[in-house]
Each structure stands twice: as C-alpha cells, then as structure tokens.
Amino acid sequence: MAHKKHDAHGSQDFISKYVFSVDHKVIGLQYLITSLLFLLFGFILLMILRWQLAYPGQPIPLIGRLLSDNLAPGGVLSPTFYNALGAMHGTIMIFLGVVPLGVGAFGNYILPLQIGAPDMAFPRLNMMSYWVYLPGGMLMLLSFFLPGGAAQSGWTSYPPLSVINPGQTVWLLAMLLIITSSLLGSINFLVTALNMRAPGMSLWRMPVFVWAQLVTAVLLLLAFPPLQAAAILQFMDRVAGTSFYLPANLVVFGETVRAAGGGLPLLWQHLFWFLAHPEVYVLILPAMGIVAEIIAANTRKPIFGYKEIVGAMIFLGGMSFVVWAHHMFVSGMSPKLSNFFLITTMIISVPSVALLTCLIFSLRGGSIRFTTPMLFALAFLPLFGIGGLTGLPLGLSTTDIYLHDTYYVIGHFHYVVVTGSIIALMGGVYHWFPKWFGRRMDDFWGKVHFWGSVICMNGVFFPMFIQGLSGVQRRLYDPTAQLHNLPTQPLNIVSSVFAWLLFVAQIPFIWNFFYSMFKGKKTEENPWKATTLEWACPSPPPHGNFEKTPHVYRGPYEYSVPGHKNDWTPQHVEA
C-alpha cells in the first residue's frame, strides 16, 4: 500500500534517480557526500591558516607557491587572505558542513526510516532544498575567485566592518540561499515527523534521534528568518547604500563615509546571535540524538531516562531563544541587560547537564560492546563535557570580560562542535553505513581513525584554553605582534602540528569510506541487532523503504527484555 505513490516512478533514468532525485535516501546521500567534502575543504582552509599562526611571516611550504601573489606574496599569507580564510572556515564548517551533515544527511536518510514512513512529506521540496543548498555552497566557494575575494569579516560578519570590507555581498547572497534551503528542509522534517508516522508510532515511541531532529527543525524554522532579515538589511547597506548598520559620520582611513547614518551596529549583533545561539543547538542536538541511538544499541539496554532526554531537548530548544546576548556582554549593550542573559544562560546549562547525565547513566548495568561507532559515542561524553564546562566562565558575565574574544572562546566552541558534534556525526557514519550501502566499514581502520582523531583533536584545542587564560585574542594575523602573546606562542605550534596530524588521521576514514562502499563486507538488514525501525527494512532500503507499512508495538529501546529469546525486541515485532 505504501508503494502506491511511488509506483509512478517505475522507470527512472539516471538523472531523475541520482541527480534530481525525490527519494529521501538519495537526497540524504547527496547531502552526506557534499557536506563531508565541505568539511574537508573548510579544514584545508584552516590548515593553511594555522601555518601563519605557528610560523608568522614565514612562507608556506609547497602551498605558498601555488597561491597567487595578491593572496600570498612570496608564499607568505597576506593579512586580508588570512582574514578571508578565517571567515570562510567558520562559515563553511557551520553552515555548509556540520548542519547539512547532521540535518540534511542524517535527518533526511534516517528520520523517515525511524518513523516508518515511505519518504518525506514533500519529496520535491526535499529535492529543492538540496538544489538550493548546493548552489549556495558553490557561490560561497566561488567568492574566492571573484575580484573582491571571499568575505573577510569573520563568520559573524559584524558591521560596519562587513559593510566596508570587500567580498561580503557574495557571502550574503550565498547565505540567503543556504537559509532558504534550511527553511525548506525544516518544514519538511516537521511535517514528516508529525504526519507520516507509522501506525502505533506515538510521539513517546519515537527514537531520541527523531526528537532531536524535530527540535532542531523548530529552531531552524524560527531562528533563521531573523538572520535572513538581518542579511537582507546588510545586503541593502552594501548594494543600495542604506545605513541600517552605519551610524552617521564614520571616518574610514581619513575619508568620511557617505551614508545617511542613523543605523545601529549593535542591531546586527542582536539579530545575528538570535539565530546563531539556537544554531549551536542545531549543531549539537542531532549529534546527541545519534549518540543516544549508538549507546542504546551498544549497551544492550533501554536508554536511561528517555522522557527526561526528550524533555531536556525541548527545554533546551525553547531556552535557546532567550540567551543570545551572552555573546555581547562587552559589546556596549546596556550592562543591565546582561544580568537577564546571565541567568538564562545558566539555566540553559541545566538541561545539557541532564542530557549528559542520562547518557552516562545509560551505561550502568549495560553489556557494553566497544564497536567503532560506540567508541565515537563514548568519546563524545567527556569531550562534550569539557566543551560544556568551559562554557561556564564565558557565560558568567564578569569572567567573560576577560575571556571574551580570546582563544578560550575558540577552545570552548571547538570542544563543543568538533569533539562534540563532529565526533558524534562520524560515529553516526560508522553506525548507519551498513544501512546506506549494505556493506560494513572496516573495523580496524575505523579504530585507527578514532584514536588518531581523538588524540589530535585534543592536541589542537586544549592548548587554546591556556592561550586564552594568558590573554591571547582571537583572529590575530600575527600573534607575535603583541607582547602578551609571546609566552604561549609555542602552543600555537603544538596546535598547528596536531591540526596537520588530524588531517593525516582522516585519510584512513576517507579510504575506508570509499573502499567499503564498493568492497566492504556485505551485511544483513540489522547488523547491530538494534530495535528501531530503520533496521526493519533491507540494507540499503528500496524505493519506498518498507515492503509493508510497519506497525509499531513498543518504545524504541527495548533491549534485554527478560524472558525474550533475543536481547533485542524490535519496535515492529508483535510480542
């Protein structure tokens, strides 16, 4: 029955099957490959940038010669190109890498399967979302080759700098495309999760991953439009000569800026962080969902506090709309406002603690299998914990005065997103790879990849806390230009070397991924002996997913049920 709608697509040519496909699984894989490539690209930008931080003013070996003279005269990065690399690294990693990977790839592929749906609610909208995202990303990359160069005002694009700097217009256009893609996606996810659940799949029987995607979709839906509006205003400032963000009488290098004035630079910061704080949860929630799935399957027991986890996620999502100005304690915003955001910020840390607590208590009484995905999920717990803990002195207004805009922030943020989100997403790749391609990734190389990545990530980011405490500001082209940065300069070399090693550690992953796709060990429907619905259909699932619409009889994590012959009791199996 579920196939009825899809039978129309009986004969498909290559283009409609693999390029302009409306199948959520093909779109999910398109997102997967594209966002992994963007992650790699954003990482390469960073590796170039880290050379300048470690060895300021020295020509970059090999790559330096490939760069044109205005980007890197004599092989040494120019300050403007350094700023462009920094801005583009942030933008690409967040908006083109991690979010499309967590939401576009995993959400698209796994969410309909886990709720027992044959596809997304709006397959064509789904296709459009990818085909708006891709040009947005391409435009972003293209901006490196345009006359003005790429944006160079940081991923936060604070005006007036972003209004007077070259390269920003293309950044704004690309962002508008990416935002549109996210909006289309989030509407689709919400309708699918609410409307397309298989019979018996009540809200309280949905896997944690689906809940995470649901909350994420709400955040994307409601938090992105303000940034869209803000980007439109900045676009107007650059193209139509308005002054939404420009106060009167600016003097840039002795030249008076000809603008009507009356604008407020702080306005952008408010609008930007109104998105960008929920965005942090958009980065982390899908990752938490993945970790919960992996932990449940590999401890062979029900996850601890399922309802508490879901409740914490919803609370987190709601609160994330009222904490944004903790990024602005020293921005010149009224100091009275700070107390409000200080309190909300501390409150929002409680559900994060609750989530982490539930995940660690899930290990209690388990029978833990240390599979490759499980290693990633386990590493997530302490490392994301470091990210969360180091958020404390930044969220507290008084201590933030000193730590704001130092390397401490960079360390904190990367512990959350890299050793948090990206670690979990990589675990997700190993976990669902058998479902996607019907073959398993190699376990040995997976473990090599895991240990290499985890050690190198800590090597890159931990020194940043020390640098931050000693007062090193972020976004410095040449840290040695300031006296107080000199003692910790050797740590920049440590970070950089580990960053390059981190790249080496990804080579086994890249090889393993493509090799296993074609030559990996074949696998059955349910290699992990897991309970959720995505394991109830063939690997890879056919067009339309399920042979027969599954019926759901129980909650998502019924492992080791006493008296049951197996230690897993799938959701769709009666009794």
């Binding site: 600016l250 290098f253 008076t256 062979r300 010149g332 290990l363 007062g471 080791s560």
Partner: protein, 253 residues
C-alpha cells in the same frame, strides 16, 4: 619592572582594582570544573570497565529510577545560582555599573580607528574641545575644532595611554570607523569600541609600569598590529609628563 614578566602561561599579573574580582571567578570556576571533570571521569571509566560486555552476563533491563538522576542537575543549578547571585551580579555591578565620580578620577576620551588608539586629554582647562568628524585629517586625528576655545589646550596621544597609579581612570570609548575592542590583559578590562556610541569604561591601576593595549575585536587587515601601551606613573611623574605635553592643535594666537 620588565613588562615581559607580566605574562606567562596563565593569567597575567593583576594590575587593577577589579582584576582580583575577575580572577577570583576564573579560579573558582576552574577548580570546580576540574573537580567535576575528574569525579565524573572516574565514574565514567569505572562504568566502562565494570559493564563491558562479558559472555553470559546480560544487560539489566530497567526503566524508571530516573528521579535520582536529577541530583547532578540540582547540584549544578545550585552551584550556578550561588555563583550568579553571590559573585557574578555583585561583581558585575561593581565593575560595569558603578563608574567612579569624575571629581576623584582622571577623565579622558579614547577613540579607536583602523588601526590605532587615540587618547584625548582635556588639557589644563579640564574641558574637552568639540570634535567634528569633518575636520579629521592626518595632523588632526580626532577632528578637534580650532574655533572652540576648550579645544585649544587639549592633548592627544596616539597608542600611548599615560595615567597615574592609585586613581581611577574613566573614559568614554568610541570608534571612528568599525568596531574595535579595548583590552588590557593586566587590568582584566575589555570593552568594545562602537562607532556611534560612547561607552563609559573605567579602571584603577594598582601598580606602576608599562602594560599592553590590544584590540580584541576583528577590525580589518591590521587587527593584530593594533596595539598600544599603557604607562602607569606615580602621581608626580604623571603630572610632570602631563605638563610636558604640547597641545594637539597648532597655537595660532
């Protein structure tokens, strides 16, 4: 004292009255963080060892028992609320919301631009001259109005902030072009300089010496080079320095 010895692998020398306030918070949080992480890490490792897969030992099937898992949440919440109400809010209002009165402090204006800090002293008359952005040029970086009598004796220094020790320095911070951020690590002071806004900043240096001003907000290609020095003098030395300074505007009459 040599300036280089101010800095190391941790917090720099504390050289202002509220630096202790901020350091107290940073230290206490890091001790707590460390303790939480170690305890948590021990528990985590214990779990991984104890509940590793063993042949014939099934996992425990259990729902519920969730209530006591709220204990860590409540501990964290109580810790944070204590920090907020006993530390963060009081220290924040001491540092950011109570600017010392003008009579007892040195009052200045600081203007940031790509990529320099200009410091505007009112001169002997104690009055700041009018500034007009249209008059800005290479020899008049702040655009002081020569027709304003109050401007005639004003002193402007670039990238050098001279102040006396043991007396609060209060200034309005603004910017001519983009956002910058006034940061002196030893004073634990950081404040964005917003174009179109005048944000009050104050600190009271507790030791004489030379300190560094850095820009903490990305402001363009010269961001890293945007640095200045704070010279904290004894009161006598400061008066002597002040009296040696020539007015910024050429003296016509």
């Amino acid at each position: 004292m040599e300036q280089a010895s101010n800095y190391g692998w941790s917090l720099p020398v504390a050289a202002s009255t509220f630096a202790k306030d901020i350091d107290f918070g940073i230290n206490i949080i890091h001790v707590a963080m460390f303790a939480i992480f170690i305890l948590w890490g021990i528990y985590f490792t214990y779990m991984l060892v104890k509940y590793r897969h063993k042949e014939g030992v099934p996992a425990r099937y259990k729902h519920g028992g969730v209530l006591w898992s709220f204990v860590p949440d409540i501990v964290v919440l109580v810790f944070e609320l204590t920090l907020i109400f006993l530390y963060a809010i009081p220290s924040w209002s001491r540092i950011k919301m109570s600017v010392p009165p003008a009579g007892k402090s040195l009052v200045l204006e600081v203007v940031a631009e790509q990529f320099a800090w200009s410091i505007h002293y009112p001169g002997p008359d104690g009055k700041f001259g009018r500034k007009d952005p249209k008059l800005v040029n290479a020899s008049n970086v702040l655009g002081l109005d020569p027709h304003d009598p109050a401007a005639k004796d004003d002193i402007v220094t670039v990238n050098e902030l001279h102040i006396p020790v043991g007396k609060p320095t209060v200034f309005n911070l603004t910017s001519k072009d983009v956002i910058h951020s006034f940061f002196v690590p030893e004073f634990r002071i950081k404040q964005d300089a917003m174009p179109g806004m005048r944000v009050p900043v104050w600190f009271e240096p507790t030791m004489a010496g030379k300190f560094e001003i850095g820009c903490a907000q990305l402001c363009g290609f010269g961001h890293a080079l945007m640095r200045g020095d704070v010279f904290v003098h004894s009161p006598e030395e400061f008066e002597a320095w002040l009296s040696e300074q020539k007015p910024a505007l050429p003296q016509t009459s």
